[in-house]
Structure formats: C-alpha cells, structure tokens
Symmetry: C2
C-alpha cells in the first residue's frame, strides 16, 4: 500500500528547494506565507506553488496563506526526512573526508556510521571522529549495522565491483560520486553526483557564450 | 557569429557521458566503434546515438563505425574543453580542499590558480600546493589573473554577497556548492551542485519504495 498520491518527478525535484526556503522563513520567525509572497521569494509563480502543494492535500487555507512550520514538516515527511537513514562512506580520500564532515547529514535524518578505505595508510586514521576501517570489514559492518545507504567516493575503476559487493551485503541506495555508471538490480536507488559532467556544463556554457560575442 | 548549430539542452546533457565512454574506449586502444556497439555499452539506443552525432555533422562513415579518437576530440571541442579556463576556489573548508585536490581539473583544461578563505586561521595554510589567501585579496586577484570561474564552497549566508563581489570583479561563471540560489545578471553562468537536494532525492526514493512494500 502506498500512502502518498503519485507525484511527478518534476514536482519531487522542486520539493528540496521549497524545503530550503521554508526552513529559512521558519528560522526568521515567519509563521504564515501566501503563495504569492513565496513565489516572489523563489522567482516562481503562485499558481505553480498552489498546484504543487495541492498535490499533497493543500496545507493552506484560502486567504490565510500557508502555515510555514506545518508545510516544512509535511514536505520533510514526504521527502522521507522523518525517517532514520543509516549511512557509510566508502573511500576516505579528500572528497570522502569532506562528506564525512558534511554537517547537514544529521539534520536530515542521515546517521553516519562508518568510513572505509582500501589504502592501508589511511586505515586507522580518524575522519570526523571516526576511525577509517579496512575494506575487509565492509560486508560484515553493513550487515551487522543495518546500513541503508553507501556513499561512494572511490575511483571509477573500483566503483562497479564495490557497488556489487554493497548490494549483495544488503545496501538499498548508493550516493555515487565515482565517475562511472553503476549497473544495479531493480529496487536499488542510485543518485549520481558526477562532478566532471557538471564542470563540462560550465565549460560548454562559457565556450558557447564566447562564440556569441 | 556562432560556429555550432543550436543544440538542445537534452543533447548537451548527454555529451559528457559520451565523452566518458569514448575516453575509456580510447584508453583501451579501441580505434573504431559502431553506433550499435556504443549503444550496448551505454545502455542507450543506436538511433539516439546516430541522431545526436548527426547534429555535429556526423563524425562517422556508414558501415565503418565512428573513429573513437576523432569523436572524443570533437565532443571535447564542442564542450569547450580545448579552451583554457582560469579558476579559483572561494572557501577552503573540507569541500573546498577536496575540490582543490580534484585531479580532473587540469585534464579538462581548467587551470586552478588560487584559493581564498575569510577565516584567518586558514590564511597562509597550504592546500594542493597553494597558499590560502585572505578575502581582502579576492577582487585584485580576479582582475589581475583574468579569472573566468569561481568555485563557491562557502556557507549559504555568505554566498549571495560573495557572488556579487565576484561578478563585479569580472568573473564569468560560478560553480556553486553553496546551498543558495544566486541571483546573477544575464550572461553569467551558474552551475549548481546542491548536495543536500541530492541527498533528499535519495531519502525520498527510500521512503517511497518502503511505502510500496
């Protein structure tokens, strides 16, 4: 049984941004906001905001605006942020260390439980108050600690075999920073952050705008 | 004058992935590949590949497949990777340091020239063989060194004012890791990497798939 109505990918993609603005408003002590004021703030349209929020049963009262705190919690709940997600990082290089120190994990219900690396020189080193563990302990750790999410910050050549090991060990989702496509079985989620692709979008934009001058 | 035909955003978004696969093939010594073999490798369709490549004037000969090395260079050129882009990082925290050590910059024509932080404790510290500079030197440095791109790895509260300073100093593009929308004037590119939004996509997928069980 599904509790939520079917929501399009485009709406889901907008939810984190709504949450960000509502969180800011809440932190500023704003209690209510109209779709019009929110649309001005977000450079969006009031009708899109009303349409999106109607999908989840409204949250608002005509003429009174939306209750910021309630809307923030509801969108957070839809995004699954009210649930605990248990997470490890595989790859303790610079990026793995940066993510380990990423303060937003806990605020969003992500519990960071371990970090792994195959480099013996890193093994035992402390990152974000956590000892780096050797890869030999990976499968046992995932099983014993009921880990949901693995963050992959390893070179592309290692990414596919390591993702297979993780999936076999019971992981449900991969936050993939390795520059490779991961062929995972159905039901396993992969969220890719391909930094090199992102850089290329920038260089494309720069090159094509220079061409226009 | 523009040299390239108008290319849709969807095609541009696919180019970095083509480049990644073609680079791998080239590194493996593969000289030619058919659209069919490339489509099998990329889990795409041969007709989409032919359609995409036709937009840039083909690159291939019917029945002979595509010349991997030529195709790699051409796509790289379209993406602007044959040009030099001069880049600084603003924010020398964990993420800024990780990006400073990101080896792919140079391979893609991005020249990393400086890193800045407003924290006096970091000033003078060395990151990726480069001294962290104080923010007071930012504007002068951008102007004197003809910097095109600023990578923003600073807290969201500082992102908007710092982006305004950078734009006024002559920067053309921002690779934005700060969790804020940057209101830049027309002609300035912003490529956002919102890690928190990406994490929320994962938690949404996990929550909605758990609902289905």
């Amino acid at each position: 049984m599904q509790d939520e109505p079917k929501i399009s990918q485009a709406v889901i993609d907008r939810l984190p941004r709504y949450l960000r603005y509502l969180g800011d408003l809440r932190d500023q002590g704003v209690e209510r906001i109209s779709s019009r004021d929110l649309s001005l703030l977000m450079h969006s349209t009031a009708s899109q905001i009303r349409q999106d929020f109607n999908l989840f049963g409204g949250f608002g009262q005509q003429g009174y605006g939306y209750n910021v705190d309630h809307l923030y919690s509801e969108i957070g709940r839809i995004l699954g942020l009210d649930k605990e997600h248990r997470l490890i990082i595989v790859g303790a290089g610079h990026l793995g260390q940066a993510l380990a120190n990423y303060a937003n994990f806990e605020k969003r219900g992500f519990v960071f439980l371990g970090i792994f690396d195959r480099d013996p020189a890193l093994s035992g080193k402390t990152v974000a108050d956590m000892k780096v563990r050797p890869m030999e302990e990976l499968v046992g750790f995932v099983t014993e600690n009921d880990i949901d999410i693995a963050v992959l910050t390893i070179p592309k050549t290692a990414a596919v075999p390591v993702s297979e090991i993780l999936v076999n060990a019971g992981i449900k989702a991969i936050w993939n920073f390795a520059h490779a496509d991961l062929p995972v079985p159905p039901g396993i989620m992969v969220e890719n952050v391909h930094l090199t692709d992102s850089l290329m979008h920038l260089s494309y934009s720069l090159a094509s705008s220079a061409g226009k001058e």
